[in-house]
C-alpha cells in the first residue's frame, strides 16, 4: 500500500503541470496548425482550405524579406556571438586579477530585456542624437554612421545589438567549459613544448565542442523567435527592411486580419525550431544511453 503510494506520488504531483503543458503548449500548437489550414481572417474560422495559406505565404515578398533577414541575422548573430564569447572567455581565463569584477560586467547585458537593449541601441545609433551626433560635436565632422536609417544596412544594426546582448552569456558558457578542462592535459602539452596558441587551437578549443553545440541551440532559437528587439530597435523599418518572421507573424495574425496566413508562418517558424532542437535532443538522449 505504502509502496504503491510512493510510486504514484511523483506522477500525482507532476500531473497538473503535465496537463497544463499538454493543453496550453501542445494543444495550442495543434490549434495553430489547424488554423493555418483554414480561411481564418479576423476571428478563427473553421472553413478548410488545405495548404492555400502556405502557398500564399511563400508568394509574399514580405515573407521572403523576413526569411532573408532571418538568414542574415541568424547566421551573423550565432557566429559572431560564439566567436566573441569564446575570445572573451579565453582572455578571462588567463588567471587575471579582478576576474570576479570583470565577468559580471560582460554578463550583465543578458540581464536586460531585449526591449531595453533595443531602445538603448536605437538612441545610440540614431544619427541625430547618438554616436554620429556626438562625434560631430567632438569635432569629427566627417564621421558618418547611418546604418539604422539605411534599408540595406539596418538588419546589421539588429545583429550588433543582439550580439552585444548575448556574447557575455556565451562567454560564461565557454568559461565554464574552459574551467572543466583537465589541467594535466595542458601540462602534458606544455612539457611536449607546445606554445600557448597551439594548445588552444589543437587541444582546448576542440574540447569545447559540446559547449559550441549548447551555444548554437540557445542562440538559434533566440534568433528565430527574435521579435522584441526588432520592434524596439527599428520597428521593422526603414520601410519593411528589418521584418523578421516573428514580427511578420504578429502583424498578419493580429493587425492585418489574415489569421490563416499568420498561423501558417507560425507553423513554419515552429518547424525551423524543431529542425534545430530535435537533432539536439536526439544526440543528448543517445549520449545519455552510452553513459
Amino acid at each position: 500500500m505504502r509502496e504503491s503510494f510512493q510510486n504514484w506520488l511523483p506522477r500525482l504531483v507532476l500531473a497538473p503541470s503535465f496537463l497544463l503543458i499538454l493543453v496550453f503548449v501542445y494543444g495550442f500548437i495543434a490549434y495553430t496548425g489547424y488554423l493555418s489550414m483554414t480561411n481564418s481572417k479576423m476571428l478563427p474560422s473553421y472553413d478548410w482550405v488545405g495548404l492555400a495559406n502556405y502557398e500564399k505565404l511563400f508568394r509574399l515578398r514580405h515573407w521572403n524579406t523576413a526569411m532573408k533577414n532571418l538568414a542574415i541575422f541568424g547566421a551573423l548573430y550565432i557566429i559572431v556571438s560564439s566567436l566573441l564569447g569564446l575570445l572573451l572567455a579565453i582572455l578571462l581565463d588567463q588567471k587575471i586579477r579582478a576576474e570576479g569584477v570583470i565577468r559580471p560586467i560582460y554578463l550583465y547585458p543578458m540581464a536586460l530585456s531585449f526591449i531595453v537593449t533595443g531602445t538603448a541601441w536605437k538612441w545610440f545609433l540614431d544619427p541625430g542624437i547618438g554616436l554620429e551626433n556626438v562625434m560631430h560635436q567632438w569635432g569629427w565632422e566627417s564621421f558618418s554612421f547611418t546604418w539604422i536609417k539605411d534599408r540595406n544596412m539596418a538588419i546589421y544594426t539588429v545583429v550588433i545589438a543582439a550580439v552585444w546582448q548575448s556574447s557575455g552569456f556565451v562567454m560564461a558558457m565557454f568559461l565554464a567549459g574552459l574551467r572543466g578542462v583537465d589541467n594535466e592535459i595542458i601540462k602534458a602539452a606544455q612539457i611536449d613544448g607546445a606554445t600557448g596558441f597551439r594548445i588552444y587551437r589543437k587541444i582546448i578549443i576542440p574540447m569545447m565542442r559540446p559547449v559550441f553545440l549548447s551555444a548554437f541551440v540557445v542562440l538559434a532559437h533566440l534568433a528565430i523567435k527574435a521579435y522584441d528587439l526588432v520592434v524596439a530597435l527599428t520597428g521593422g523599418g526603414p520601410g519593411r527592411a528589418t521584418e523578421l518572421p516573428a514580427t511578420f507573424m504578429y502583424s498578419y495574425t493580429f493587425t492585418r486580419n489574415q489569421m490563416g496566413v499568420g498561423a501558417a508562418s507560425a507553423i513554419i517558424m515552429l518547424m525551423m525550431i524543431f529542425s534545430i532542437i530535435v537533432p539536439y535532443i536526439y544526440s543528448e538522449l543517445k549520449s545519455g544511453e552510452n553513459r
Partner: protein, 417 residues
C-alpha cells in the same frame, strides 16, 4: 487544509467579482484608446453626461495610438464570450464586427433622433451595416491637411500653394532657405497618409477608382506612376534622419522652425495649439494642394456590442444618444482637433482651422467628394490597406522606382483580397 481554504477564498472572490459585474445594471463598459491628456479630458465630458443620467461608466482603456492593442484586446474578449458593451472603433473594423453579427442594433435611437438626416453619407457606410445603425460616430478627422509654419512660408514668398507646381516651388524655396522643407516621420502609416493626399490630388474619380474600387487599371496605370513620382519628389524634401520618427516629433520640427511644413491629419493641430501657436498667425492650415473641395476622412465611432441584460441595453442606448448630442460633439471635437460627425453642429467654439474643416466637410459631403482615407482604414479592409502600406513605404524608402511600385501595388492588392 490551508490549500483548501485558499481555494475557497479564491472561488468566493471569483463569485463576488462576477456578481459585482452583474449587479451594476445600467452600466456601460467602454473599451477605448483615448488615454492622452487632451483625449481623456474630452472623454470626461461624455462620462459626466452619462453619470448625470445614472449610467455607470466602467473604463477599459487600452493605450496605443492607432488602437492596434485595443483591437487585439477586443478580439480576446469576444473570443472568450465576454464582449465589452461599447468599443471605440475605426472604419472597416466596425464592418468586420458587424459581419460577425456581434454588434447591437441602434435603429430605435437613430430614428428617434433623426441621425439619418445629419450624418454624412460616407460615414454611414461604416455606422450602418445592412441598413441598420450599429455605431455612433464621434468625430470626423480629415487627413488631407498640410500644416505650414507661417514664418517659413513668408520667407518662401508667402503665397499659399494651390497646386502641385506651386507646392514644389515653395518646397524648393524652403530648401534654399536652409530648413528641412518637409517634416515627416518614416512610419508606414505616415507615408501612406501623404500617399492618400497625392492620390486625391490626381482627382476624385482617380481616388475612388484606385483606393476604394481597387480598379486594376487605376492601380497600375500611368496616373499611379505619376503619383509615385510625386512621392519620390516629396521624399527629396525630407531630412535623412526621418525613419521611425513619431508624427508629433515631426510636428514639433515645424513648430520650432526647423522644418517648413507637415502633411498630416488634423490631430496634428493639437500639437500646434499645445505649443501656444495661433492658427493663421503662427501656422497655416491648408488642404493638400489640388485637393481643396475634397476630403479624405477617418472617423472614431462607438460600436455597441450585443448584450442580453435589458438594463445594459438601455444604458447602451443612452450612451449612443449622448455621443450624438450636438453639445457633446462640439465640446469633444474642440478639444480633440477633429470636427463633429454631424453636420448641424454650430462652429462657434472652433478655431479658424476647425471652422475651415467643418466647412470643407459640409461642402465635400454635398458634392460627393467625401472619401474614406485609405491610410486610416476607411477605404479598404485591413489586409488590403497593409498590403498597400508595404508598397508605399518600400517605394518611399527607395526600394522600388515608380514603375515597379505601381506594378507591385496591383500584385499586392490582388494577393490580399
Amino acid at each position: 487544509m490551508s490549500i483548501n481554504c485558499k481555494f475557497k477564498m479564491t472561488a468566493s472572490a471569483i463569485v463576488l467579482a462576477a456578481s459585482a459585474g452583474m449587479a451594476s445594471a445600467g452600466s456601460v463598459e467602454v473599451l477605448h484608446w483615448w488615454t492622452s491628456g487632451g483625449e481623456a479630458a474630452a472623454l470626461n465630458v461624455l462620462k459626466d453626461d452619462l453619470a448625470s443620467k445614472g449610467v455607470d461608466w466602467q473604463d477599459m482603456p487600452v493605450a496605443g495610438g492607432g488602437g492596434e492593442a485595443a483591437m487585439t484586446a477586443l478580439r480576446a474578449r469576444v473570443t472568450a464570450g465576454n464582449a465589452p458593451t461599447a468599443v471605440q472603433m475605426l472604419g472597416f473594423d466596425i464592418r468586420d464586427w458587424a459581419a460577425e453579427g456581434a454588434l447591437a442594433n441602434l435603429d430605435d435611437v437613430a430614428s428617434e433622433e433623426g441621425w439619418d438626416a445629419v450624418v454624412p453619407e460616407a460615414l454611414k457606410a461604416f455606422s450602418k451595416y445592412d441598413g441598420h445603425w450599429v455605431a455612433a460616430p464621434v468625430n470626423v478627422h480629415s487627413t488631407n491637411w498640410v500644416w505650414i509654419s507661417k514664418k517659413a512660408l513668408d520667407d518662401a514668398g508667402g503665397a499659399v500653394p494651390t497646386n502641385w507646381d506651386e507646392l514644389v516651388a515653395v518646397l524648393d524655396k524652403m530648401k534654399e532657405n536652409g530648413i528641412t522643407p518637409l517634416a515627416h516621420g518614416g512610419q508606414a502609416w505616415q507615408d501612406a497618409t501623404i500617399f492618400d493626399a497625392v492620390v486625391l490630388s490626381m482627382g476624385n474619380d482617380f481616388y475612388k477608382a484606385s483606393m476604394i474600387d481597387l480598379d486594376e487599371d487605376a492601380l497600375g496605370g500611368d496616373q499611379m506612376v505619376e503619383v509615385f513620382n510625386r512621392m519620390a519628389k516629396l521624399r527629396s524634401y525630407v531630412d535623412d534622419n526621418f525613419s521611425g520618427r513619431d508624427w508629433n516629433l515631426a510636428s514639433a520640427m515645424v513648430i520650432n522652425g526647423e522644418a517648413g511644413m507637415q502633411m498630416m491629419g488634423d490631430w496634428a493641430k493639437g500639437e500646434f495649439l499645445k505649443a501656444d501657436q495661433v492658427p493663421g498667425e503662427d501656422f497655416v492650415c491648408i488642404r493638400f494642394p489640388g485637393t481643396q473641395g475634397s476630403v479624405t476622412f477617418n472617423s472614431d465611432q462607438f460600436a455597441m456590442f450585443k448584450v442580453n441584460d435589458p438594463a445594459a441595453q438601455e444604458a447602451q442606448k443612452l450612451m449612443a444618444s449622448a455621443v450624438m448630442n450636438p453639445t457633446f460633439q462640439s465640446a469633444f471635437n474642440v478639444v480633440k482637433g477633429s470636427v463633429p460627425a454631424r453636420t448641424d453642429v454650430p462652429d462657434t467654439d472652433f478655431d479658424a482651422c476647425g471652422k475651415k474643416g467643418m466647412k470643407d466637410l459640409a461642402e465635400a459631403n454635398a458634392s460627393g467628394s467625401l472619401f474614406g482615407s485609405m491610410a486610416h482604414g476607411h477605404a479598404v479592409p485591413a489586409s488590403i490597406k497593409n498590403a498597400m502600406y508595404d508598397v508605399v513605404t518600400a517605394h518611399f524608402n527607395g526600394e522600388y522606382d515608380a514603375q515597379t511600385a505601381a506594378a507591385e501595388l496591383v500584385a499586392a492588392v490582388a494577393d490580399a483580397k
